[in-house]
């Protein structure tokens, strides 16, 4: 067993874990944070997307021990039902889901994505490698390609992200 210390949603927590425990299983089964979902468990669907040190990653494809000392943000750390994060509020306003299973992953991925765009990181869809990319529909689709939605709520997901991204830009 390994003692693993993580700063999760601003709180330092230490758990004793088998080396094989994925970060996803550590969150859900050992830390009681079930907001992060398990879809495929093989890095293909994005349902388990979280932020580690500010970067979006698949929690199912990384071991908790690899992140001893790291800072983790899950959907529980974004907002509360009474005080939603702007991305969460946009998903509600634009009906960006049907069953909702992929939604925490979509929201975490979208929050990470908006941060990447703010840093000027290009995507494969960007016309140019330089300058701040414009968040067109094609850009959002490319940048969210790691998150699948079995209900195919994509049009509303894109609308929600587009609206939240514009609000973030307007307020910054």
């Amino acid at each position: 067993m390994h003692d693993v210390t993580l700063t999760i949603n601003g709180e330092r927590r230490t758990v004793a874990l088998d080396a094989r425990t994925t970060l996803l299983d550590a969150l859900r089964d050992h830390l009681g944070l079930t907001g992060t979902k398990k879809g495929c468990d093989h890095g293909q669907c994005g349902a388990c997307t979280i932020l580690v040190d500010g970067r979006r990653i698949n929690a199912c494809l990384t071991l908790a021990v690899m992140h001893d000392g790291d800072t983790v943000t899950t959907v529980e750390g974004l907002g509360t039902p009474d005080d939603l994060h702007p991305m969460q509020a946009a998903f509600v306003a634009h009906d960006g889901f049907q069953c909702g299973y992929c939604t925490p992953g979509q929201i975490m991925s979208a929050v990470g994505m908006v941060g990447e765009v703010a840093k000027g990181w290009p995507s494969h869809a960007s016309a140019s490698l330089n300058g701040k990319p414009e968040l067109t529909e094609a850009e959002i689709a490319e940048r969210m390609s790691g998150n699948l939605c079995r209900c195919s709520a994509y049009p509303n997901i894109v609308a929600a992200i587009s609206a939240a991204a514009k609000d973030t830009e307007a307020s910054s």
């Binding site: 080396a19 094989r20 468990d41 890095g43 990653i57 698949n58 494809l61 990384t62 994505m113």
Partner: protein, 267 residues
């Protein structure tokens, strides 16, 4: 997953020593290939030696001739590096098309090259640019490094430390991607090197993993245009055949991707 243990060595020397003392131990970088393989019980390392944070495997530097990238640099850090974008934009673009953002934030250059998946992207860039792979023991030329699918010149316990990519006069890459995984069904990297040599490397299509398309190299050397490669076909009997596409289809894709890569090549 079978039982295993985990070590996070503080230096390259410590990592090498752990591996040297245990035949069944394996290096762990981004884990984007090794962990799914372990989950499917196709790999059962006794220990995981985490090299993702080793300072010796980090960093990107540019000289007038080459871009040197640490083996533990992630696909995302390579795609978003102003140094790489400036010196070899095609390499940054290639990195930005690997898998999806979540995979790119964890997966590393060294992990991809050590694994040498026949559908991976970096092998095409390394072979076409004639890069040099630097390990904890020696330097290996790209032409000697790739030895068939999932097989490389790396010896037991040898660590890939960095890759030196010569800056080409021009280069282009085009891949026909599997829409689900984004792995290449055929990917072609074309380059004119600083000394004028033309090199063409194909990934995703060949049964033996990445390979050089020498007939295309000769044709482009005489006449750098999409038309020059349009009529050149690779032998379908050497191509991969699977549910995503049969050998004849892949052979055709290679010619189409070669044309697109030439068009994409920045002058």
């Amino acid at each position: 997953m079978y039982e295993t243990s985990y070590k996070r060595p503080a230096s390259l020397a410590e990592a090498a020593a752990i591996i040297a003392a245990d035949d069944e131990a394996k290096f762990l970088a981004g884990g984007q290939t090794l962990l799914p393989t372990m989950k499917q019980r196709l790999a059962a390392p006794s220990q995981l030696v985490d090299i993702a944070r080793l300072a010796e495997l980090k960093g990107i530097s540019v000289s007038s001739e080459a871009v040197t990238i640490g083996a533990a640099m992630t696909h995302y850090s390579i795609a978003s590096s102003p140094e790489v974008q400036g010196a070899i934009p095609t390499l940054a673009k290639l990195a930005s098309g690997i898998g999806d953002p979540q995979v790119r934030h964890r997966g590393t250059l060294g992990g991809s090259l050590a694994n040498n998946d026949p559908s991976a992207d970096y092998p095409a860039a390394v072979l076409a640019l004639g890069a040099t792979l630097v390990t904890d023991r020696r330097e290996i030329a790209a032409d000697d490094y790739f030895q068939g699918m999932f097989t490389t010149a790396l010896e037991e316990g040898e660590i890939l430390v960095r890759v030196v990519f010569p800056i080409p006069r021009k280069a282009g890459y085009s891949k026909f991607l599997n829409p689900a995984s984004r792995y290449a069904m055929a990917g072609v990297f074309v380059a004119t090197l600083a000394d004028g040599a033309v090199r063409v490397a194909v990934t995703g299509a060949g049964q033996g993993g990445v390979f050089r398309a020498t007939a295309m190299e000769e044709a482009l050397g005489d006449n750098w245009s999409a038309d020059a490669v349009a009529g050149i076909k690779v032998d379908p009997s050497d191509m991969l055949s699977d549910i995503h596409g049969d050998a004849a289809y892949r052979a055709n894709l290679v010619s189409v991707m070669a044309k697109r890569a030439v068009v994409a090549a920045a002058g």
